[in-house]
């Protein structure tokens, strides 16, 4: 749904959970636009993946709202959210292993009725990721980790989204390939005008690739600001980027007051 206006996706004081009694998100507000890449970092269990799932209608949002260009999309079903131009690449390798690269890409477009449009978009995706064209008839399981990550990104790009939510794109990737994946994300943002919200545990590289950073801890946004600023912040370095040694937990709770 491309418009001439810059699209805006916002979360306003979201509280969310999966099962009763276990609160995951206690208060999360953030805003991203089509022009930006935003990165969510934080400890394991902070609620980073749940932020993406709350947007996609995959977590139970108890209060607060998710808005796309002012429209309240809170609690919509995942396919309704996708139809509005928000794509989601979940955590872990999620290709269909027994399907070819080309079939995997076509699966991404199964809600599009116009088959020619799907084919056209697959060609565009081959332009973005030329390696996928080379492997188009290979079964996905035979691809390396980095190539599979590109299939996963390509598969959601079929819908021509305005936003892409991506959960740990660099997990399990070799250093050289990891850089390539971040470069692809940057070029999707700059050239295709896709707003990106990504979760990363390779926090330093994730922030370096991003315009905006959000530090999530215990279900709340603790710090936010330009990625470069967060990288320079000594507290953040110590608490979340590995600079604090073994006393980091103590320090984290001290800032909690």
């Amino acid at each position: 749904m491309p418009t001439s206006e810059t699209e805006i996706l916002s979360l306003n004081d979201i509280k969310a959970s999966y099962t009763k009694g276990v609160k995951i998100l206690r208060s999360v507000s953030l805003e991203i636009t089509q022009k930006k890449i935003a990165c969510l970092i934080g400890p394991n269990g902070a609620g980073k993946s749940t932020v993406l799932k709350a947007i996609m209608g995959l977590a139970n949002v108890e209060s607060g709202s998710v808005k796309l260009n002012g429209e309240n999309i809170t609690g919509m079903k995942p396919h309704e959210v996708m139809h509005r131009g928000i794509a989601y690449v979940p955590q872990g390798r999620t290709v269909f292993p027994e399907m070819t690269v080309w079939e995997n890409l076509r699966m991404g477009g199964f809600i599009i009725k116009d088959k020619q449009l799907v084919e056209d978009r697959i060609q565009e995706i081959f332009n973005i990721f030329p390696i996928l064209y080379d492997y188009r008839n290979q079964k996905a399981y035979a691809l390396s980790g980095g190539e599979q990550q590109m299939v996963e990104m390509g598969r959601v790009l079929i819908l021509d989204p305005s936003f892409m939510l991506i959960d740990e794109p660099s997990i399990g990737l070799a250093p050289k390939v990891r850089r390539l994946v971040f470069e692809k994300i940057i070029s999707l943002n700059r050239e295709k005008r896709i707003g990106v919200l990504m979760v990363e545990q390779n926090a330093i590289q994730g922030l370096e690739a991003s315009d905006l950073g959000y530090v999530l801890d215990m279900g709340r946004v603790r710090f936010s600001g330009p990625g470069v600023d967060l990288l320079r912040d000594e507290r953040i370095h110590k608490l979340y980027l590995g600079g604090g040694g073994k006393d980091y937990r103590k320090a984290r709770f001290e800032t909690d007051t």
Partner: protein, 242 residues
């Protein structure tokens, strides 16, 4: 010398995943296994632990041949492993998950003094390290992807193993927490536990490992100390990049 691989071969259909791989791991060390995605690292773990049969070569552990053994026989030798994709029991509590592998029914264990209280203490201590002691009585199903990985890693420390094989322990783990885990690995190593670690995080590899083996396209590309490996032109080109 602890493990010795001699000309190990593993084929998947027409693809040779391990191509005459030979190396020895130094006794008592933390050894890192690195290489590009698809270079054969996890396959090497799978043949080493009896999860996959090999197509050629031999594997020795302390001078005994261990290739052809079943996974449980490998465990009985004191060699245990973690997986890239975690396997925890979702309906058991975190604490119960950690105590599962410590239960045995062997007569020899019954004759020994029961050590459950000590195990319980250790489990609680480990949950503290990974920052999850507040949920020790919650089912593992509440955990996120990264937390499940942490639980599985912790589980590998609960077993009285001589060697622990870890498949990408830092993937999906917060960098600050990682340093606490590294401390634990180092402490266990000083107590005499050996480690063989597959890892892509170079900070972890270079700080933690005493010795590094590099795989590329199923072959051993290089082997040596971290400082040597970091300077190796071929490794830089194949794996580390600019």
């Amino acid at each position: 010398m602890s493990f010795e691989f001699r000309e190990v071969i593993k084929d998947f259909g027409g693809i040779r995943a391990l191509d005459r791989v030979s190396f020895k791991t130094p006794h008592g060390a933390i050894t890192g296994l690195i290489g590009p995605n698809g270079s054969g690292k996890t396959t090497l773990f799978n043949v080493l632990t009896g999860f996959l049969p090999m197509d050629g070569g031999q594997i020795f552990y302390k001078n005994d041949r261990i290739d052809g053994l079943k996974p449980h026989e490998v465990v009985e030798l004191g060699i245990i492993r973690t997986f890239q994709i975690t396997r925890v029991f979702p309906k058991l509590t975190l604490l119960e998950n950690l105590l599962v592998p410590t239960r045995t029914n062997l007569i020899s264990d019954l004759l020994r003094r029961p050590k459950t209280p000590k195990k319980l203490e250790k489990a609680q201590q480990l949950l503290e390290i990974i920052g999850m002691s507040a949920y020790m009585h919650e089912p593992a199903s509440i955990l996120s992807f990264g937390q499940s990985k942490l639980l599985e890693l912790t589980l590998s420390f609960m077993i009285d193993a001589d060697i622990i094989l870890l498949d990408e322990p830092s993937a999906g783990i917060n960098p600050s927490l990682q340093s606490g885990i590294n401390d634990w690995i180092e402490a266990e190593n000083k107590e005499g536990k050996e480690f063989l670690i597959i890892e892509h995080n170079m900070e972890v590899v270079m700080n933690l490992c005493h010795h590094i083996i590099v795989l590329h396209n199923g072959q051993k590309l290089a082997q040596g100390e971290p400082a040597e490996i970091q300077q190796d032109e071929e490794v830089l080109d194949a794996y580390l990049g600019d």
